[in-house]
């Protein structure tokens, strides 16, 4: 056992950074799992280049993984790392500007060769020129110690041994933050089951890293972060894309519908395809289509046949799917379209986050073409939003667009597992009988005779005798669904389709305001993945005495019925968005409320500290109570 000091911390932010090929995402992932199993609350932010292997050792090739864990509820991956693990000079240089003074840097000195330094423009090694004087630098020859630790593995090449340096780093950090490693050991055993040599080498490197921490004098103290107090239940750690996949499967199961995914690979949505493709055991059918259009087309065809048709994509793909989504609006069939947003326009920033597809989701089709739009607030909320999307799609026979984004997709947090039996009921009834009488008095079927409550049309699937009918993209006569070019009918049908979507507001939860003092003059309203940063910022602002209310939209079309009433009483309404003010524009247009946009499109989530300043300034402008200095 270690004789070293163990110090308690309430929260830590660690960033692992290295070359794209250094295994930083895996290292971060494993450290996260170990941390989750310890019961800390946590939030993660993977950040990687679009290139699979950018030139080695260069700034564009740097891949990082940030983890914030604490003994209390955590809302964001953290504004600034307390610890940076830098596997090479590029990783140090690319991340140094995010580090506060005094932060710890664990640096792999083996990679600080002249050549690697010059690749990123260091004339002299920053480890030697005193430029890191205000940081707590721990130089560790990570690669050579790892290779040394594997000396007995005579069958492995030096290159293969070097590859285990990430496990050495993980072992060292596991010691430093007293994380149990059995989960990672089990993971490695499963991963390298048929490569015993590589498995043993990775395990040896992992343990060597842990032992190095325990024995070296460079690390005097180990740290502990106690478990967070969380609501009772069984938890797992989950990313947004996995949660969304699971939500779709669970909702299809509740609705007794087979799930069909038609999808074309696109970053950052592909993991949903990968996840669902592995769930055939649950009756899930996945098809990797020839293009984005075929993906949504096949999904719509499946919906026509009575399956739950789903397609997944990112912004550029949503643009390609637009015409088919318009067809689904006209056919009035359930369809789930998941847009995992990324930086745009065009190819934009494929691996970075943004929420600039809101207007595309609402309006990016020809004609009056309303669809339901929902957005998850956190990685785990992706599960609930998937269930909600399926409820809306099947109840109202409409396409539903789910707006997740790269931050939610790849970020993770602990998720309190729901019980399947307690998920919302999704009752789907296919039409089985004629619903009208023709002019000869014979029973007949009118495919556009609507449910008076929901305005949904019957879902009559092929194979049902007596209900044979044709649907299509040409305007249909009300009730009968026959082709109609009648002006009044088109006006009527256009309004009916809009009324059906507007009516969804009757069955969604009202917008809830969090205002502990009940007398705030400033409201911060967000949507989608900004929930965590906004909530963290509000928490910071309140700690300085600011009275501020927070509300968050999960339904973007229609808005909750009380949205206007919520907004109007506030003197100032701040709307932070990772776009140039798309929700703000909608709110101003719909409610005539003078909301104020606060926007950022840097491909990264908002920083809580930055938002807290915005909030404090707004509160100060309408209040005469002075605020305390912000608690850091």
């Amino acid at each position: 056992m270690s004789a070293k000091l163990v110090q308690k911390l309430d929260r830590v932010v660690i960033r692992f950074a290295g070359d794209s090929g250094d295994g930083m995402q895996l290292t971060g992932d494993r450290f996260t799992s170990q941390t989750a199993l310890l019961g800390n609350d946590l939030s993660t932010l993977p950040n990687f280049p679009a290139e699979i292997r950018a030139p080695q050792g260069t700034l564009p090739g740097v891949s990082s993984f940030q983890l914030h864990f604490a003994d209390h509820a955590v809302l964001t991956p953290g504004d600034a790392p307390d610890v940076l693990v830098a596997m090479n000079p590029a990783a140090l240089k690319a991340n140094l500007r995010d580090l506060p003074r005094g932060a710890a840097i664990i640096v792999n000195t083996d990679e600080f060769s002249k050549r690697n330094l010059s690749k990123v423009g260091y004339a002299e090694s920053p480890l030697e020129d005193g430029s890191l004087g205000s940081y707590d630098v721990h130089p560790v020859a990570l690669t050579s110690i790892a290779v040394e630790a594997l000396a007995s593995f005579t069958d492995l090449t030096r290159k293969e041994k070097e590859r285990a340096k990430n496990m050495f780093a993980l072992g060292l950090l596991s010691w430093l933050y007293t994380r149990p490693m059995d989960g990672t050991e089990a993971f490695l055993k499963a991963k390298f089951a048929d490569k015993p040599d590589i498995l043993e080498a990775n395990l040896a490197a992992l343990r060597a890293g842990f032992n190095y921490g325990e024995t070296t004098e460079d690390f005097a103290v180990a740290y502990e972060v106690a478990p967070a107090t969380m609501p009772a239940g069984t938890y797992r750690n989950v990313t947004g894309n996995v949660a969304l996949s699971l939500g779709l499967v669970a909702a299809a199961h509740r609705a007794h519908l087979p799930l069909f995914l038609g999808s074309y690979p696109i970053t950052p949505a592909s993991d949903i395809l990968h996840t669902l493709a592995g769930l055939k055991r649950y009756g899930v059918a996945t098809m990797q289509a020839e293009d984005e259009i075929a993906g949504v087309g096949a999904a719509l065809g499946a919906s026509f046949g009575g399956a739950l048709g789903v397609t997944t994509t990112s912004g550029p793909g949503l643009a390609l799917k637009a015409e088919t989504i318009g067809l689904a609006v006209s056919l009035e069939l359930p369809l789930i379209v998941c847009d995992i947003q990324r930086g745009g326009p065009s190819t934009g920033l494929p691996t970075k986050t943004e929420q600039a597809d809101l207007l595309q989701a609402l309006f990016g089709r020809n004609g009056e073409s309303p669809v339901a739009v929902v957005a998850p607030a956190t990685p785990a909320d992706c599960f609930d939003i998937a269930v909600e999307a399926v409820r809306i799609a099947t109840t109202y026979r409409t396409p539903v667009i789910v707006l997740s984004d790269g931050y939610l997709a790849n970020g993770s947090e602990p998720w309190r597992l729901p019980r399947t039996a307690e998920l919302p009921d999704i009752v789907v009834e296919f039409a089985t009988e004629p619903n009208a009488v023709d002019d000869k008095g014979q029973p007949t079927f009118h495919p556009y005779l609507r449910d008076p409550e929901t305005l949904a049309r019957p879902w009559a699937i092929p194979g049902t005798p007596g209900l044979e009918h044709r649907v299509g993209g040409i305007e249909k006569a009300d009730v009968t669904g026959n082709i109609s070019y009648d002006p009044d009918n088109h006006d009527h049908m256009t309004r009916l389709r809009q009324a059906k979507i507007d009516g969804i507001a009757d069955t969604i939860e009202p917008l809830v305001v969090d205002d502990p003092t009940g007398d705030a003059d400033v409201l911060v309203l967000g949507w989608g993945s900004t929930f965590g940063p906004i909530a963290a910022a509000v928490r910071l602002a309140r700690a300085t005495g600011a009275r501020v209310a927070q509300a968050h939209l999960r339904h973007l079309n229609p808005f909750p019925a009380n949205t206007g009433e919520v907004l109007r009483p506030y003197q100032r309404v701040i709307v932070p968005e990772m776009n140039l003010g798309q929700l703000a524009m909608l709110l101003r247009a719909k409610y005539l409320v003078d909301v104020e946009s606060h926007t950022s499109v840097r491909g990264l989530p908002f920083q809580a500290g930055e938002l807290a300043d915005v909030i404090a300034t707004a509160v100060a402008s309408v209040s005469d109570v002075p605020l305390k200095e912000a608690a850091k």
Binding site: S33, A36, G39, P227, M230, P231, A232, G233, T234, Y235, R236, N237, V238, L246, A250, H253, P258, F260, G262, K280, R281, Y282, G283, A285, M287, A289, E290, I293, A294, G297, A298, L300, G301, A302, G305, G306, A307, G309, E323, T324, L327, L331, L417, P418, T420, A421, P462, G463, T464, P465, G466, L467, E468, H469, R470, V471, G472, G473, I474, I483
Partner: protein, 359 residues
């Protein structure tokens, strides 16, 4: 890495309608049962009328329950087809019918799924979906009405229009090399490819019958006259004497040719049409529709010429290979371990690493 799929693909010889409920107790449907109450709105003289009548007349022959037949179309004159058939139908969007029908066929083994499309719909805007449906061998019957012109948009050239064809959008003549739909389909790994003509009901019906029988994608090119924008483009094939000299009948195991001519293969494998009297009997081509190698069928498709001098007509290729939809269903069936319960879903949600927080 590849893996042995380890699945028996549907037993060899399964027909295109295996798995689709058939009529029992001796009932039979008639053409009238397949005629919807919608007024047919094609131009007078349009070849589509003949095709519609042939399809309506043929469908009862399948002996299927009417509610288990679905027609999916794209956009264009031909794509109005589903409205006139009293089956389930979808008139979708331009070029996308094969993709939509793929999703339907993949999830519903009990449906007989037909796609109706045209030369613009299938070969221009929807070219990608067509080749991928054929490659995957989805159990779809694709009827491609080829009139070598855009009709619904009023007379622009299409991907099968000839070089030099003067149309509204090519006043000085089309510059594009046309597609040969049969060659294209064969190149896309189609397992069934045939050509027929709107005006030859008997031949059309026989091809439809073989297509329906085939398990997998069937591409049927149907020469169809557009009386408004490309009238008479196939007239030489409708004149009895001219047709006898031009149409090369494709019949399995038979010599390919007309009464006067026959197709021969030269040393390099190229085909030519020569008078029967001059043909070396050893070089005469006998048609083999089930040849695994599509080269011979492809060579036959290349006998086409813009002046319709020689037109192979009939089934070019009809081979059995696993269909995408059957294989997908088999993968799912073999992965399944029984009815999915709430407990199964609970276990799925939990995954492998969980921890519990006490109350």
């Amino acid at each position: 890495m590849t893996t042995d799929l380890g699945m028996p693909s549907r037993s060899p010889g399964a027909t295109g309608t295996a798995g689709v409920p058939h009529l029992t107790d001796g009932t039979a449907l008639t053409k009238k049962d397949f005629t919807s109450d919608q007024e047919v709105r094609w131009c007078p003289g349009c070849g589509d009328y003949a095709i519609l009548a042939a399809v309506q007349g043929f469908l009862p022959e399948l002996g299927l329950k009417r509610e288990n037949i679905v027609f999916v179309s794209g956009i264009g004159c031909s794509s109005r087809f589903p409205y006139y058939l009293d089956t389930y139908g979808m008139h979708s969007i331009h070029g996308r019918a094969p993709a939509i029908a793929t999703g339907l066929a993949a999830t519903r083994e009990d449906l007989s799924v037909w796609v109706v499309t045209g030369d613009g719909d299938a070969l221009s805007i929807g070219g990608n979906h067509l080749i991928h449906a054929l490659r995957r061998n989805v159990n779809l019957k694709i009827l491609l009405f080829n009139n070598e012109i855009y009709g619904l948009t009023k007379g622009q050239y299409s991907p099968t229009s000839h070089v030099g064809q003067v149309t509204k959008s090519t006043p000085l003549g089309s510059l594009d090399t046309p597609f040969n739909p049969v060659s294209l389909a064969l190149g896309a790994e189609a397992s069934f490819v045939a050509r027929t003509m709107d005006s030859d009901r008997q031949h059309l019906t026989s091809v439809l019958r073989a297509a329906a029988e085939h398990r997998g994608s069937a591409l049927v090119e149907i020469y169809q006259n557009c009386p408004i924008f490309n009238d008479g483009v196939f007239d030489v094939l409708k004149d009895r004497t001219e047709a006898a000299a031009r149409i090369l009948h494709l019949a399995d195991g038979e010599e390919v040719g007309t009464a006067e001519t026959v197709v021969v293969r030269d040393d390099r494998g190229s085909l030519d049409v020569v008078p029967r009297g001059e043909a070396d009997p050893a070089r005469i081509v006998r048609h083999d529709i089930s040849a695994t190698d599509p080269s011979a069928a492809f060579a036959l498709s290349r006998l086409d010429s813009p002046d319709l001098g020689h037109v192979p007509m009939g089934i070019f290729r009809n081979v059995q290979r696993p269909t995408y939809d059957d294989s997908l269903r088999e993968q799912i069936a073999s992965a399944r371990t029984g009815e999915v319960t709430d407990a199964d879903i609970d276990a799925l949600l939990a995954g492998r690493d969980t921890w519990t927080v006490g109350a």
